[in-house]
Symmetry: D3
Subunit: 248 residues, 6 copies
């Protein structure tokens, strides 16, 4: 199968890191194509940056989805997830949603660890929007600025410390890593953490493979069916085309 | 005061209708400036159209907020509301949020009526994201396509019938009209409905005036404070500038 | 417009403090009439005192509502709010509800600060009864007895310390002051607090002005419509009269 | 033991009906004293009547609690329940709360049937305030005016029909009768209903006996401990005395 | 009346301790028969042990319920509660549910204290399954291994310390003791705790007496009615017989 | 990988049907071993039958898990799911949980269809216990007795009719089939239903493959870690051994 990985951040290095993690996770027959947002924030980490990124993600999807079997959204806020599910004919998976759903297969509540403190409410809102708030033990953030996202050791130590707190004081029985910049880092961190550690890209690739294999029908009714022929203006021609397509 | 009304739909007629309703609602010292999205759907009525509209709304805000005292978002899905609240130095109000909060001042649960059936889950999710789901009696939609939004009589009859059901069978003690295309229409419909009828634009203008008068401080911490100097690329120069501005 | 401010406490000094705050908040055309409970606790700060105050508030409303355009309840537990909304023909606003709803226009969760620890569960229950529990970050109380309510400096320092905790540890993005004895005190405290600070009387006056301006219809059905002609005995004659009035 | 039954309605006939039901439910050593509100509505069935009744109930409790082992509130809205629990040294039980808690011992969700449609939201709010909303299948009301509360057959047929609907369509596995005017009526109705039928007065008397037998300690801290010496004015001298009493 | 007390643990000493507590709580006409699980864990304190205990409890009930008026489940996880309610013709009470429901008659939220930390999520889930999560202030566990359950002083000191924390920091207005091994221990501990302390066996016996006295009908429909004639194989002959019995 | 499929019903034909569906779903390298409960109900469809089945499932797991990479529970009530997750060293998946989690990857709320009406509350409770109640549109049951579970056409027509209601009236955007007896039947039914149809066994096999591939760590702390060396008596020797094993 062919999986389109869309990075909603405009930083190629993050795309590369996610693509590497994706390829490690993918089955032998899965081909990963990774694309990077052409406009918006270098690292999406605020509400407004996320709003702009949604358009960037929708645009990339319109341009690159042809021939793909599934799409994986590579921003830890799962930017534009509902939008793509509605618009595209193939399954779409969000990286943080994927890790959260896999965490659910383990039982109990999971903790979430992200980078920085500012976005904590945004992750709480995201997981609540998935109807999963009762499964969330707590969301914590490593105290770090976006400019230090490359400091892997500092991130690693921060994650390990927060995980310990989440497990021992908040009742977390698994930990979800939420942060595109940490993609794949669970491999080195798991040994230092007492409960299962879930990575969004890794879970997302496998969940995408699963849903493709299931061969589910595109909904023909409801808010996730294709919106039908709609007139949109001033956007990428590929996106215009996607709206012109007949429903179904 | 000067109020910027941002229409996230690319239809000028909707802007005009909302601006008319806004001017009827506004105090004598309130000046309304209404702007229309330059890209995106004619009438936002699906998840993907809403995602694109968020960027359009953010862009219009960046271009036109200078000199304004408050911003009112004129899309009934309150598109990009959190984004603008974070990014702009002045208060931002969403039209549906405004009607919902004013409905809360009446006590009990309110019903919500929109146009079309497809978006019902989106309004339920929106109100849940505001933490108001316990105040919502039910969300119903007039069975109509976007191309018939100009048929005022059909809309009026539909709203009256749904309102009656919501009041008598679902325990609604007020009704919120959710739909930019119905802006100001409560004036003619109220007489046919047994409980208070709330219009988003009307409530939004007055709530914007209230918040401006309160003179509240911009948060200096948290997810609604300015994100600080951030590098964003490929977007409108006014938006780039907004991110470059020092925090506070 | 004419606004009736009802103090459910039997302390004139609190009425005066609230009336001062109300007049500072009111528009040029708003006339405030403030009345004080004639029976009950000096400072309502327990469940039983609140139960008695409800009757006092209803009685004052029956005696003084004629000719008023709206009523503002000046007890931070919003005593008898639903009762007045049902019984009176004009809008009724509760001071804590008002501050909470205005806080909602800012986005995110708000913290609540009151005086004393004993009433914390009562405020949690009050906000839950408004369906707003998901918007409440936490409720905290300045550790102070009712006899020290005049010690403004101690209250101020207590509020500032609690606000800092609520913002940094509990994710509050705004703070609601709940306490009639603190009416208007946000003016001096805001500078020391990093997020917007909301005062019940100030928000209540403005929200009352807004709802009056909206000119909403009195519900003709439901639990907030007038209960119709009812026989009540042993209560204030003005209250008896209010129940005798034909519905609508 | 001696049980004080407080009717918050000012109708002696309802007191008598409840006292009869209470005596049928009581153990051989339980002595019931029933008192009737001296002011307020004939039949409490609206928010404002309930607010006034709270004061009447608190006053009756202050006057008559001496020498009693427990208090049962005889209004189906459990008027002033929290107030009495805080203020009195002995246990206090609400009739509808009692039936709801006993229904919980049966497993599953219970339906609630009251008289009239107007108060439905008030019962929903009451049960939600007890934290029991997940146990409530639905609340329904027999379509009847207070003046027809004496028409037992019409009430009986209405209850049976609603119970059937609640069981078959809403998943109710027990039925709570909420209405002082139906006290004891479960005895004749149970045979016509397929699931257990709970009467507030019957359950309330037995639960009061249980809690007295348990001999629980009065809380010394928290919002249900005695509020301590407080100055209250203009109220019944017995109530003033109750506030003057030293804590504990 | 005759009450069957079923210990789901395979430790006779726990049965004896619970039976002692039950006899102290029971009325003069209540006869307690206590039986002990014949297979499963010595002390049920994990998910899998609880799963096995459910079968043991159902089997004991099938063997011993004849001639009993009610059944009390003596495992603090209320093992097989719903199963017995469905299958048996008489009322069934769970010890922790009983204490929780009696705690509800006191108003406010209650804290729960158990033995050990491992089972905390299981008690949170149990109380949530009763729809009581909003009444739970927090669940805490005395830090002790099952082999030290006989160390009464250590348990006592642990409970007193946790109760103090629950009352002062988590807003608990009552405390529920959850642990068969602590049955009856509230008698000695109450004096050291500032709010009412509830013991499952004590509350359970009295609640069983109450429900028997009420004489409620067995449901004839729904998930708690008898499942009807069913073929079950490989289980205790008394259990097979219980399924063969005609419905109702 | 080797997957152990445990049928908690004592009917071999159901095992065979589930095994067939499992083999159709499995990848080329997945080997399915299916075992059948040796005691308990022919078809688990009540609370007490489910309680007994839990022991049967735990026993089968103890006997057959050696050499397996994952376990799939083949009862649509996911009997003993938490118990096995705690006790076994390998991943355990429940069939209904699997379908529900895969439904979550599609966005929006899903409807659930089972066989019979009696178990509806049990499925609602099951999904609520997973913290997924906000994702459930409604649970409906085909009106059929267990003796008619072989009537595929009647089941098929019932499912199609209920699915249509769930989609059009309850807002379901996907449908979960809950019923071991319908395993694999989605293949023939999907064409008649407008939204994706999820089968528990199919989703469960694939989710088990996914989790095995992830290679997650067994928790070393918390309520899903191995309970440690425990003395259990009177149960299958393989189960005794499983408890004797050192932790981890």
């Amino acid at each position: 199968m062919k999986l389109l990985l869309i990075n909603g951040n405009t930083t190629q290095a993050i795309t590369d890191k996610m693509a590497d993690a994706a390829r490690l996770a993918a089955g032998p027959d899965t081909h990963i194509t990774a694309v990077t947002a052409t406009f918006g924030a270098r690292v999406v980490s605020s509400r407004s940056e996320n709003a702009v990124a949604a358009h960037a993600v929708v645009t990339l999807a319109a341009q690159h989805h042809h021939g793909c079997d599934a799409v994986l959204i590579g921003v830890s806020l799962d930017t534009a997830l509902g939008a793509l599910r509605e618009l595209l004919p193939m399954p779409v998976i969000g990286m943080t949603e994927a890790a959260a759903l896999v965490a659910c297969t383990l039982g109990g509540r999971f903790g979430v660890i992200t980078l920085g403190k500012r976005t904590l409410p945004m992750y709480e809102e995201l997981l609540a929007s998935y109807g999963l708030e009762k499964r969330v033990a707590a969301v914590e953030g490593v105290d770090i600025e976006t400019r230090d996202y490359g400091d892997s050791r500092r991130i690693a130590d921060g994650v390990v410390a927060l995980a310990s707190t989440l497990v021992q004081e908040r009742g977390a029985e698994a930990i979800v890593l939420a942060g595109a910049a940490m993609a794949g880092q669970h491999r080195e961190l798991q040994a230092r953490i007492q409960v299962p550690l879930l990575d969004g890209i890794t879970c997302g690739v496998m969940l995408a493979e699963l849903v493709v294999k299931l061969g589910l029908k595109k909904p023909q009714l409801g808010s996730y069916s294709h919106p039908g022929a709609k007139e949109v203006v001033g956007v990428d021609p590929d996106l215009v085309k996607l709206y012109r397509r007949a429903e179904g």
